[in-house]
Symmetry: C2
């Protein structure tokens, strides 16, 4: 089975502390690295986590609050110093121009790679990246400004052929590809050999969803239904529910409620307010609703 895991680079919120860095995480899908959000210090966190910078495929910015983007100038500068030449796609709301244009014009000049800013539709679900094994979608969250979540999914893999059966029925090589895609085999005397006799199911595609920043919003549920792993922000404990509502953030309990409603397999909570030195309370409150909950932590790696 190929790699599919998440590394938390920062799981704090607006104000970084000595406990938590601003939001950022890496999604590793078969050694392609996708960076979600890029708070101040992200490049340094990548170094601490021994990230192979050359594997960085593209960037995904959920929204344009400073704590999610202030690490971009330094990261782009370092990629340039490291000699990157391959294009870098940045998927973000179009207003990211206001930050990147002056940076690229005045501070990170003469770079040898092309940066493609690919605007996200803030209003609906959108397929933003696709190759032969991965699909990435954005979908709207509910925050003070346009904000999007991201869904990373493997494409359903081909079925695995059963070598012994292929030999037994003397299936010609030219027909094997069709059988991997689910086709039956017809022998020379017209007998239909069903695909299920010739193949085993491929690996079932895994899915990861990222939801930060957002108020409690059941409208998210259809976009993340049944994912293997959900990251959902949990800025506050339940005692700060009013503050969560006012600032369009979630409590840990609300994150767990979304996980339960969406019937996901595992939940990571993060984006913790700087007011919490201990997170046990948030974890307990989430687990009371959705037992399979884990706390994000800097440097933590979670398999999807």
């Amino acid at each position: 089975m190929t790699n599919f895991n998440i590394t938390i680079l920062g799981c704090g919120s607006a104000m970084p502390t000595t406990l938590h860095n601003p939001p950022s995480q890496l999604v590793d899908m078969n050694d392609k690295l996708f960076l979600i959000d890029c708070g101040e210090g992200t490049q340094l966190q990548m170094r601490r986590c021994k990230t192979r910078m050359s594997k960085l495929h593209s960037l995904f910015i959920s929204h344009l609050h400073g704590d999610h983007v202030f690490g971009l100038p330094g990261l782009l500068s370092t990629l340039s110093l490291l000699g990157r030449t391959g294009d870098l796609n940045i998927y973000a709301h179009k207003e990211i121009d206001f930050l990147l244009n002056p940076i690229l014009k005045h501070f990170v000049r003469n770079i040898d790679f092309k940066i493609n800013l690919i605007p996200i539709n803030p209003n609906g679900k959108q397929l933003i990246f696709e190759n032969k094994s991965i699909k990435i979608y954005s979908f709207p969250l509910k925050h003070r400004i346009a904000t999007s979540g991201f869904l990373f999914e493997e494409i359903k893999t081909q079925r695995h052929i059963i070598r012994e059966m292929i030999d037994f029925y003397q299936v010609p090589i030219r027909q094997i590809q069709a059988i991997k895609y689910g086709g039956d085999f017809v022998t020379s005397d017209g007998t239909v050999i069903e695909n299920a006799l010739l193949t085993r199911p491929g690996i079932s595609p895994r899915r990861y969803a990222y939801c930060s920043d957002t108020a409690f919003s059941p409208e998210i549920v259809p976009h993340i239904e049944g994912v293997d792993l959900l990251f959902h922000e949990a800025t506050f404990a339940e005692s700060e529910a009013a503050r969560a509502k006012e600032t369009y953030h979630s409590t840990a309990r609300q994150a767990a409620e979304i996980a339960k409603l969406a019937n996901v397999k595992k939940l990571i909570i993060g984006h913790f307010s700087s007011r919490y030195n201990e997170l046990d309370k948030l974890l307990d409150e989430a687990k009371s609703v959705f037992p399979n909950t884990m706390l994000a932590k800097e440097g933590g790696v979670f398999n999807v």
Copy 2:
């Protein structure tokens, strides 16, 4: 004697590593904090060093390369979240507008303090700040873009009166202030009592100079002559002297030569290239020219 010390927040160069943060340091003069340069992660380094953010008086930016300014957006955002209301002066070359204007317009809005951008003259020595006990000057360095060093100096303090002698000669209270400033005393019978009999010297004013980034440049010497403490960049070892020249940086040995030419008391070297994991070589090379050399290190505090 009042505080006058330097805290190194970052002594790396363009590319931060797990060993060194980008350039930034705090000058503490009698509990007023002056921040010089503000690389990415400066606010986090300030937290690690338990900096009292409320004591931050003003900011000094030597030049507009990213490694010296990319921490500004996050720091301004955090000062706002912490509820700062007092004006913040930022002394920098005028092109800092290209970074700060879009940040303040789109990302750090509704702040409750006023930011005053005070342009530095890149060409000559300039008194940029003065109060009753401190003077701060900028002076030109020699780098690829307009770059300035900074000189922090205490103002010469008044002489201390010798109480017993004041009593003996029955000096009227109204004349004491003049005597503190060096005046003699004339008794009622016309005898001149020399100031040296009535007072002891005040504390001799201390001076700290910051020179980064810069090529080896003896033109700096008159500006830093005799300072108590000099920070001078030492990006490279002597084996990279050609690279230093090409990039308008200094070797450790060149930093020491400047310290010697300027007859300073102590030298700190910093702004280390990310290529060095060990700094012994740089320290040895500097000490061979100027023995009283110290290596900067993150979190290090140096008395002036």
